[in-house]
């Protein structure tokens, strides 16, 4: 083995381990946040008994799920029944591989005991795989996630599960379209599909949430549907379908589904952060953007600060997901389809046309891609967002939410 190959393998192994552990710990924390947050929003305390502040409650629940009895329904398709939870868990985990979570570390050339000389040329990107197709990879794998849910519903040999699975496939496919087409604008702005390049483009210009506000709003709505969370949790719909696609699952096989849901939640938040909120970029400063050539305290500090900022941004979006979940009721199925096909998709397509024109015009005028470029795009976005909000709203309120008028006399 050459020192370069050894270096690559070593770095990759460390990064994989880091991301894997961080995600699993993150899931525990997120579930804790969700349950305590739900409690606090409902004027109660939530789980606070196991461990400090109830932080170990999920560990206890995980242990419980590990030792519980596994039940396989009669005449279930056993192979797929066992495979389905794995499919949704693995696809949720694998998505994080292409998300950059910090500034690159400097290259190294050291001799380690046992391993010998280990070399890594060029800066070490803080992502498991800096794929040249990073963005497309996420779109592709997140549509594979629907298989886990649909197959789980189908293999259970239960009508409720099957209905849940069917809903999941219909919902996720229709929102996949809106999600994918709203993100084309990001590609137009960044001119690249590598997520590290998208982050770099945002450091050059402004965060894309300002340059492509409408795309961000549409991605956020589609993300609720993609992660099967309220207000779009129709595949689960516990009021109508018992528990939807995982009604027949028990013990750890069941736990895989919530686990993958929360991993997907973290990944979606990280994805939104990366695409629209500058990824690991620290706003208003430039010192985090200069790549360090040699190892120093500054380089390590820079990377850890950016990673912390990334964590904070991601956590904010996780919190928004939790907040929305405990606020909104579930959509009716026709409302869901209406929003996906008749609102989001046409809006996204029209938005692509407008933004492509804007980008083309800016290119013609020869405006450099710096903060002025972003500002102009922001000014283009403001009327668009206002128009969409006006079109959706127009001072109309859902029937039944008006304040009740007290009766006369």
């Amino acid at each position: 083995m050459t020192p370069e190959l050894k270096g690559l393998l070593l770095v990759s192994a460390i990064k994989v381990l880091l991301v894997f552990v961080a995600l699993l710990v993150g899931v525990l924390v997120v579930i804790w946040v969700e349950r305590r947050g739900a409690g606090f929003m409902q004027d109660r305390l939530g789980p606070n008994r196991v461990g400090p502040l109830g932080l170990l409650q999920n560990v206890a629940d995980g242990l419980k799920n590990l030792v519980k009895e596994e039940v396989v329904p009669a005449r279930a398709d056993r192979v797929i029944f066992y495979l389905a939870p794995l499919m949704s868990f693995v696809t949720a985990l694998i998505l994080f591989a292409v998300i950059p979570f910090g500034a690159p570390l400097p290259p190294f050339d050291v001799t380690l005991p046992l391993l010998g000389r280990v070399v890594h040329e060029g800066p070490i990107p803080l992502m498991v795989a800096d794929l040249p197709v990073g963005f497309l990879f996420i779109i592709a794998i997140s549509s594979v996630a629907v298989y886990g849910i649909t197959l789980a519903g189908w293999a259970s040999n239960s009508k409720y599960s099957l209905l849940g699975g069917l809903r999941a496939s219909a919902q996720m496919i229709s929102y996949e379209l809106a999600l994918g087409s709203s993100l084309i604008v990001v590609l137009l702005l960044a001119g690249n599909v590598m997520l590290s390049e998208i982050v770099a483009a945002q450091q050059r210009m402004v965060w894309f949430v300002f340059a492509a506000t409408l795309a961000y709003l549409m991605l956020h709505i589609a993300a609720f549907a993609e992660t099967n969370r309220l207000p779009f949790d129709l595949p689960e719909a516990e009021a109508e379908l018992v528990a939807g696609y995982h009604a027949e699952y028990s013990a750890m096989k069941y736990a895989m589904f919530p686990l993958s849901e929360y991993v997907a939640l973290i990944t979606m938040s990280a994805f939104i952060t990366t695409l629209f909120f500058g990824g690991w970029d620290i706003p208003f400063t430039a010192w985090d953007e200069q790549a360090a050539a040699t190892w120093s305290l500054g380089a390590v500090l820079r990377t850890s600060m950016t990673a912390l900022v990334f964590l904070g941004k991601t956590f904010f979006f996780v919190w928004v997901f939790v907040w929305v979940r405990w606020t909104l009721p579930r959509f009716r199925y026709d409302q869901l389809m209406f929003l996906g096909w008749k609102v989001l998709l046409p809006t996204a397509l029209a938005y692509i046309v407008v933004m492509a024109t804007a980008v083309l015009v800016l290119e013609r005028w020869g405006i450099a891609q710096d903060w002025k470029y972003g500002l102009i795009l922001f000014l283009v976005n403001v009327p668009l967002v206002a128009a969409v909000v006006f079109g959706l709203d127009r001072r109309r309120v859902l029937a039944g939410t008006q304040r009740r008028v007290p009766m006369e006399g």
């Binding site: 947050g37 409690g39 606090f40 929003m41 409902q42 004027d43 109660r44 305390l45 907040w323 929305v324 405990w326 606020t327 909104l328 009716r332 026709d334 409302q335 209406f338 909000v389 959706l392 709203d393 127009r394 109309r396 309120v397 859902l398 029937a399 939410t401």
Partner: protein, 169 residues
């Protein structure tokens, strides 16, 4: 006869959930910061502090005693007579002075429906339902309270509902 299908008119065009959503988010966020109503049960109980049981609460029974520590019961037999659940077992006895007293007085708290009739009917104000709720035991037999146990209870007794003062003022 033709089948009549009722078509639900779903609101589609007049619907906007934008404002309702934002309003809802504001409501949930404000509740996030409000004081919580959870009782931290083993540490806090309803006897003290913010929570209290109603004085009309009807829990497990208590037999009141006189100054000599004897049960006030005169074994008149009214409480087993009125008990709708038939959970009171009373065997009356009489001492040499002609005073009646219970030889056996047992209440099966599993059968009891906690109606409080026994307390209402008692002419001596001896048997009472109590303001009390922590009754866990390891054996079913332990839920048959005998006279000694009923006399040893210390929790406050119920005031029951007074028809002349329906709001307890």
């Amino acid at each position: 006869m033709a089948i009549r299908v009722k078509v639900m008119r779903r609101p589609e065009r007049e619907v906007s959930y934008l404002r309702a959503t934002l309003k809802g988010m504001a409501v949930t966020f404000s509740h996030l910061l409000q004081p919580k109503v959870t009782m931290q049960y083993p540490e806090e109980t309803a006897q003290e502090g913010f929570w209290h049981l109603s004085s009309r609460w009807r829990g497990t029974h208590r037999m009141l005693t006189d100054e000599q520590g004897r049960a006030k019961c005169v074994a008149c037999g009214l409480c087993p007579q009125i008990c709708p659940a038939n959970c009171i077992k009373l065997v009356p006895g009489e001492d040499e002075d002609g005073h009646r007293y219970p030889l056996i007085y047992e209440i099966d708290e599993f059968r009891c429906v906690f109606c409080g009739y026994c307390q209402e009917v008692c002419p001596e104000e001896a048997i009472h339902v109590g303001v009390h709720y922590e009754n866990a035991e390891y054996q079913r037999e332990r839920f048959v309270y005998d006279l000694e146990r009923l006399c040893a209870q210390t929790h406050p007794v119920s005031t029951l509902w007074d028809p002349s003062d329906p709001r307890g003022e």
